[in-house]
Structures are given as C-alpha cells and as structure tokens.
C-alpha cells in the first residue's frame, strides 16, 4: 500500500533533501581541487536509496557501486567520515585508502562499495549466504546500475541466490546510461531484466524510482517476501542522473543525451514532487548546519601518514 502518512513522507523528503544538499555542496566545492578523487553524484537518484533503506533495519546490510553516496547516507553512514574520506583524510571512513567510490560504515550495515561494474553483487550474495549459514536474521541489499546486468557475474549471482533461497534483495537502478552509452546500444530493447531475474527463480517487481513512497512500498513488500523465507527478490527502478557520470557538472550540452530528455526528467525530480508539501527553511538550515560541520571536520582533519 502506498504510504500517505505525512510524518513518514516528511522523513523520506528530509532524507532525500539531505542527500541532495550534501552532494550539491560537494559539487560546489569540487573545483577547489581539494577533493582529489572521482565523485559520482547521485543527484536525481535519491529516492531509490532513501525508499529502500527506509524499509530496512540498522542490522540489515547493504553493498553498493561507484555511485554510493546516497546509499551510504540513506543507510545511516556518518556524513563526517564520508566527507573526510573524499578529502583523503585520516578521519575518513577508509582512512584515505578508499575515497568516494569505497564507502563503508559497518555500524550501520554499509558493508562497502566498489566501482568495478557488478563487482559488489556477489559480495552481497556472499554476505547473505553467511547470514544463512549462521542463521542470522538480517538481510542484504545489493544496489547496482543497469549496466551491471550486462555482466556475467550478475546472472551468476542471481542463480546462486535463488539456488540457496538467500535473504538478499537485488536493487537495480536503471538510469538509462552507462557513462555516455545509452541503454539501446548495450541491450536489445526487448531484453527484460525482470524476466531474466524471474527465470532464475527470483520474485521480481519494478517501479518508478523517482517516487519515493512507491520505492518504499515495493521495498517493504520485498523485505516481507524475503523474511517469509520465499527467497531473493529483484527490484528495478527507473531514474535519471541529473549531472555528469563522474564529476560535479551538468553535461547535457555535450551531445550524448538531449536537453529535452533531461528537462522531462527534471519535471520528475524526486524532490520537486514533495517540496511544495514539506519544504521549509528550518529543514534546510538543519541540513546545512550539518554539512558545514562535516566539511569543517574534514578540512581540519589530518592526512593519513605513510605506514
């Protein structure tokens, strides 16, 4: 059932706005060249991370890909440690070994992110397999882009997850592009990723990844399905990245996608849908205070020393 509870919707909106403003702050400061690692911003895709993670417990685990900021933050990852990590500081979540593409916060079940396409999918299945072997009650969510579904390891992982009926939720974020390569040059339009997952024996569903309450509802159903012992679930949500694949800028002018396409997705912005209901100055102020604190923390932190 689609959530209409105002207090929950406000929480979802707050989480999305928080991620949006954090990433906008990163984008704004990126040209200073103090954040010396690639950043893949989730701006435009916040609803999937927030909606899925709202259906989880702190003890549930997630893994992610190169575009991991939103997942890390939605799962409760420390903002200070994330910003410090992007600045390459000792106080970062990987003490400077990882950077933006390798985020981790074990306390909140963020088990790690990696940028090799599809690379963290079997890791997530393995975490679920460990929980299965140890009779632990938590489940594992694997976030990945639609490009990962072109990797063999995706199908291999679906197969094993279904074979062992593992407590794992596959969440595919289809943002239509792998860097600059559109979906239609990579997959036949008739290729149904849902059908592929279903053929492996998974329960599948799909939805609008820019409608946070829809994401939440489908995630809650998926979580219930998994907890009832019926096996793994594959969810796919469509969405759109507003900025360039890697970096702080907009890149609709360079020619791989049209202004019209970007503009039409802009009208479907996951935040705009709800802002008229929930936006107010005090929320923004609260978020911005936290952001200022995190950047201050990162800038004031020491660099790691060579061992």
């Amino acid at each position: 059932m689609i959530c209409t509870d105002k207090s929950i919707l406000l929480k979802l909106y707050f989480e999305m706005l928080r991620i949006r403003r954090i990433e906008e702050a990163i984008a704004a400061r990126y040209p200073e060249q103090q954040m010396r690692c690639p950043v893949h911003l989730s701006i435009g895709q916040e609803a999937i991370a927030v909606g899925v993670c709202k259906a989880l417990l702190q003890t549930d685990q997630i893994v992610s890909s190169h575009r991991a900021h939103a997942h890390y933050l939605a799962k409760g990852g420390s903002l200070r440690k994330m910003i410090a990590e992007i600045y390459g500081k000792k106080t970062g979540c990987c003490q400077g070994w990882g950077g933006s593409m390798h985020l981790v916060d074990l306390e909140h079940g963020m088990m790690g992110s990696t940028p090799i396409v599809g690379g963290s999918i079997p890791i997530g299945v393995g975490l679920a397999f460990a929980a299965h072997l140890k009779r632990e009650p938590h489940l594992t969510v694997i976030f990945f882009g639609e490009g990962s579904t072109e990797e063999g390891v995706w199908a291999e992982s679906l197969n094993f997850a279904a074979l062992k009926r593992l407590p794992v939720l596959f969440v595919c974020e289809n943002n239509l592009y792998s860097v600059y390569s559109p979906l239609h040059v990579r997959q036949p339009l008739s290729r149904s990723r849902l059908q592929i997952a279903r053929a492996h024996g998974l329960h599948v569903d799909s939805g609008d990844g820019n409608v946070v309450e829809e994401v939440l509802e489908k995630s809650q159903s998926a979580v219930a399905h998994i907890h009832s012992g019926k096996g793994p679930v594959y969810l796919e949500f469509t969405t759109y990245r507003f900025r360039e694949h890697c970096g702080p800028n907009f890149d609709n002018h360079i020619g791989y996608r049209t202004h019209e396409e970007a503009a039409s997705w802009e009208t479907r912005c996951p935040l705009k849908r709800l802002s008229h209901q929930f936006d107010d100055e005090s929320i923004r102020q609260q978020i911005d205070d936290e952001i200022i604190d995190a950047f201050q923390f990162a800038l004031n932190s020491p660099f790691p020393e060579v061992r």
Binding site: I116, L133, V153
Partner: protein
C-alpha cells in the same frame, strides 16, 4: 606421532582437523562432495560435516569467488577448490579487485580469510588449458598470500596456517605431488608463511624451487653429488611473502644461483628471485644466475611435444655442470636428455620417486 601420509591425505587431514576446531570453516568447489572428492582431498568430509559445510557449487567461478569473499567478510572461513588452476582465471576480477584489496581498502575494518586451492595439471595430454601454474601472476598482487607446498608435511602445515589466517591465500597443489609420501605429524601444526626450507645443504651452488620443481631440484642435487658438486636446495614453500633472507644467505655462501621454476621464463617468478639477488647480493655472485623454466610457449598436448617442454632434474643438473665449468659433462648429459625425450612418453609422474625427501 609421526606417520607416513600421502600429500592428498595430508590436505584432507588438515581440512578435517581445522573444520572440527572451527565451525566457521566450510569447503566449496565443483566436485567437492563427489565420489572422487577433489583427488581424494575432500573425501568423507561431506559425510562428517554435512552438505552446508562441504558443498558443490555452480560453474560460476567469478561470482562464487565473490560470494566466498562475501561470506568471509560476514564471518565465515571459506575454502574454495578448483580442479585446475586454469578455470580460476575466470575469477581474477573478484580475486584481485576484491579479495586482495578489501581489508586495506576499507582500512582494516574487515578481513577476508579465504583459502583458494588450485591444482596445477601436468601430463597425459593436459595441454594448453589444464596445465598452467600461474603462481607468478598471483604472487604479483599485494594483499594475497601465495603458497606452494612440495611435500605432505608442508601441505598440511601451510594449509593449517592458511585456514587460520586472516587474509586471502592462494594454495597451489601440483597434481604430480598428490601421490607423494612423507612424514606428517598427526597432531595439528602450522608452517608459517614466508619461511623457506633448506631441503639439502651444499656449498657449491644454490638451487631455488617451489612445489613440484623442488623434487626435480632435489633429484638434481643427488646427481650433482655423484659428480662431486654439493648443491643447496631451497624450497620456497611460500612465494608471497617471500623468504628473501634464506635465499640471500645461501647465495652468499655458494655464489651461484639456479632458479628452477615450473612456469614461463618471461616475467616469471624466477626472474623476480634473480632480480632480488642481483640487487641485494651482487658482489657475492661468482657468475650470472640462471633459470630453468618452461619455454615461452603454450603447453603442448602430444607427448611427442610435451617431452621437450618440461624441464626436470637432468636439465637442472646439466645447467649446474655448465656453471661449474664441466662443459663436457654438461653436454653429455644434454645429449642423454635429448635422446630420452625421443624414446617414450614422459607424461606421468616419476615412478622411481614417491618420497619422502
């Protein structure tokens, strides 16, 4: 208690003892619970520990390696087997990008206690894709441990260390070693990584080898003894970490070095050892270090070709004689080798030697 066990029995015993002591250890691989039990190394384990801890797996090397890594992060201790190392090439992404890096990449917050047992094939027409050693490739990667036992004692002791360590281990088993005998204590013991073993002492030259080539080096040392030359044989046991000081100490004593390696010459592990020695003990060398390796070509299948492919004890001996100014004896032995290569297939393990050494 000291008993004689075969190499494959030592692996099975180590696995059994470790599994009995630690319920987080599980064994996974194609054919692990089947009637052959990975050349006998996993026989009986499924019956004893059940199908959750001793399990077969899909033919999905890359994902299954990632899944094993995931379980290791999640608190399990997986042992993964592959009946030929060549198949494991499909999993290099998960091995190199994830297993080797996970611990350091995330600042030591997680560990990856993963053992990958790879069997190197040889003989009876194993051919291009069933015979690759690949240890040079693995040993290149920071974050991995690479071990290659040559005898049953080390097979057990190194596997015990691998199964109780906190980092990924590539454990290489040469197929021609599975039937070798040797003394193995019944109780649990550990052979630490990074400690080479001197298999035979000598003062005239140093022969460095690992895995099956250690047997050939040891046999070469016996042949050289008959010529009045005393070779020191170093069994590396562990390639990464490497026991540099054992090699350097020996070379400083003998001044001459042969590295015998079951691998290709170009960019191989033999080159690494020679580079290390020339960097650190240049002035102690009496002559140029030499390599005994496969030729730089794929492994042929027909015995008529593979007879000429694999170097062994006599090739090492011939090279040592040449280095020690016995060109006539070296040439004579070389002629003998060439003649033997034409006579009959040399594609099964040497029946005259089954250990111990």
């Amino acid at each position: 208690m000291i008993r004689s066990l075969k190499f494959y029995e030592a692996i099975r015993e180590a696995t059994d003892q470790a599994m009995a002591a630690d319920p987080s250890i599980y064994v996974m691989g194609l054919g692990v619970p089947d009637p052959k039990g990975i050349f006998g190394t996993t026989l009986g384990l499924a019956e004893k520990y059940g199908s959750e801890r001793v399990l077969d797996m899909p033919t999905s090397e890359n994902a299954m390696t990632g899944i094993a890594i995931g379980t290791a992060i999640g608190g399990m201790r997986p042992i993964m087997t592959h009946q030929r190392a060549d198949f494991f090439l499909l999993a290099l992404d998960q091995l190199i990008n994830n297993a080797a890096k996970w611990r350091t990449m995330f600042a030591g917050q997680m560990k990856v206690p993963l053992v990958i047992r790879l069997i190197i094939g040889r003989g009876w027409g194993q051919g291009p894709q069933h015979s690759q050693s690949l240890h040079s490739l693995f040993a290149h990667i920071p974050g991995l441990n690479v071990v290659a036992p040559s005898n049953p004692y080390d097979a057990k002791g190194l596997l015990m260390s691998a199964m109780t360590g906190d980092d990924p281990v590539i454990y290489l088993e040469h197929r021609w070693l599975h039937g070798i005998y040797g003394n193995v204590p019944k109780e649990v013991f550990y052979v630490p990584f990074g400690q080479a073993k001197i298999t035979k002492t000598g003062s005239d030259l140093t022969i460095v080898a690992s895995s099956h080539m250690t047997l050939e080096a040891w046999k070469a040392a016996q042949l050289l003894s008959q010529e009045g030359i005393e070779a020191e044989v170093i069994d590396l046991r562990s390639l990464r970490p490497l026991d540099e000081s054992a090699i350097l100490q020996s070379v400083c004593k003998t001044g001459r070095l042969i590295v015998a390696d079951d691998d290709w010459k170009t960019g191989g592990f033999a080159a690494e050892i020679i580079a290390m020695v020339t960097e650190k003990a240049w002035c102690r060398l009496k002559g140029a270090p030499q390599r005994v390796t496969y030729p730089d070509s794929i492994t042929p299948t027909s015995w008529a070709l593979s007879n000429h492919y694999y170097p062994g004890a006599k090739e090492i001996t011939s090279l040592a004689l040449k280095m020690l100014d016995r060109p006539m004896r070296s040439e004579a032995l070389l002629a003998e080798i060439l003649q033997q290569r034409m006579l009959k297939p040399l594609d099964t393990p040497d029946p005259s030697f089954t250990g111990p050494f």
